[in-house]
Amino acid sequence: MTKAPPQPSDPELVEAVLGGDQERYGELVERYQGRLVNYLFRLLRDLEGAHDLAQEVFLKIYQALDRYDPRYRFSTWLFRVAQNAAIDQIRKRRLKLVSMDRPGKGWEDLGTWEFPHPDRGPYADLRNRERGVAIQRAIEELPWEYRELIVLRHFGELSYEEIATLKEMPLGTVKNKLFRGRQILKKSLHDFLTD
């Protein structure tokens, strides 16, 4: 059995791109696109908007790539840019109250799941939809201090250390807030935990 070649690290990919191999940036994009889109989607509640903003974030990062310091994690940098972009976007949307209900794929219209429910059929679809709505509602009802950490951990898939760096808070605080956030979520989603 042949062993798979080791994946290049983020700093190695950045170095390759800066060396002129632009195509390698695609590897970085593919490495983080899922996590970034999911993270932004949970903050923006708009799948199309999350894709657009993720694209914008990748472009911003590309333009500033020569300023990346390989002593630090690429993921932290990426999510910090994404977080700022999302906050800007949310602010803009709040200003445009009239267009808040703009059409687009929101969480209620979601049909795609990374791990689709194994049982197909009208009941499973309905249950799937209900579950999606309940999850989004439960996340939105979380106090912001827990919500952003839950989203970073479960959808951005960042480690405790990455979250601690990003949020500039001690590791113990990150763990405690995740614990509290999960306690609240568990209560809100109790009906779906036994599925």
Partner: protein, 201 residues
């Protein structure tokens, strides 16, 4: 067992799905779970929650990364990348070789027809370049002469001109300072910072 112990194990039960507990924490938790129904229930709930949230992740649109690559704007650092200079350096080397060949052929016998056409084109570019440079030089000389005559004729004009030059200098210095400040601010925002910073905003 104290309440404090129970709270500690309850927290560990919620953090267990992340797979980050130490061996000591895991064994302590296992021991505690054997006698604590509340923590057992919490642990099962936390694991279920983890699965539920993982299952609610959305798929990225097909072709997303290709779209990002297609829309990459030219970045400032690209001009400094070695690959950007390769073509220019290769062209320069080619021109150098062509010039050397031209010098050698020009000193000996008439060039063959194909080489002759090539040298004619080179000569055309050279003439055009010289003519352009001469034109620019003449224009600036003309401007200089006219300005000198005007200033010599009117002392007041000389003063006005001096003030104008000083004002332009001040403007230029202010522009430089502002650009430096902007670059510093941009760098501070985009560069990973305290601990492990990083932002391109």
């Amino acid at each position: 067992m104290t309440n404090e112990d129970h709270s500690r194990y309850l927290e560990l039960a919620y953090l267990e799905p992340d797979g980050r507990l130490t061996a000591a924490e895991r064994s302590g938790l296992a021991h505690h779970l054997a006698g604590c129904a509340e923590c057992r229930e919490a642990r099962a709930g936390a694991a279920g929650l983890d699965r539920l949230l993982a299952g609610s992740r959305v798929r990225v649109e097909h072709g997303f990364s290709a779209r990002v690559l297609e829309s990459l704007p030219p970045a400032g650092w690209e001009a400094r990348s070695p690959r950007s200079w390769t073509a220019a350096l290769a062209l320069l080397a080619l021109l150098g070789v062509a010039a050397a060949v031209a010098a050698r052929l020009g000193s000996a016998e008439p060039a063959p027809p194909l080489a002759g056409a090539f040298f004619a084109v080179l000569e055309l570019f050279r003439s055009a370049g010289l003519a352009g440079a001469g034109l620019v030089g003449a224009s600036w000389r003309g401007v200089g002469i006219a300005l000198g005559e005007a200033l010599a004729a009117a002392p007041l004009g000389f003063v006005v001109f001096g003030v104008l030059v000083a004002a332009l200098d001040v403007l230029f210095v202010r522009f430089l300072l502002r650009a430096m400040r902007a670059a510093r601010a941009g760098g501070a925002e985009r560069r990973p910072g305290r601990g492990e910073r990083g932002s391109a905003r």
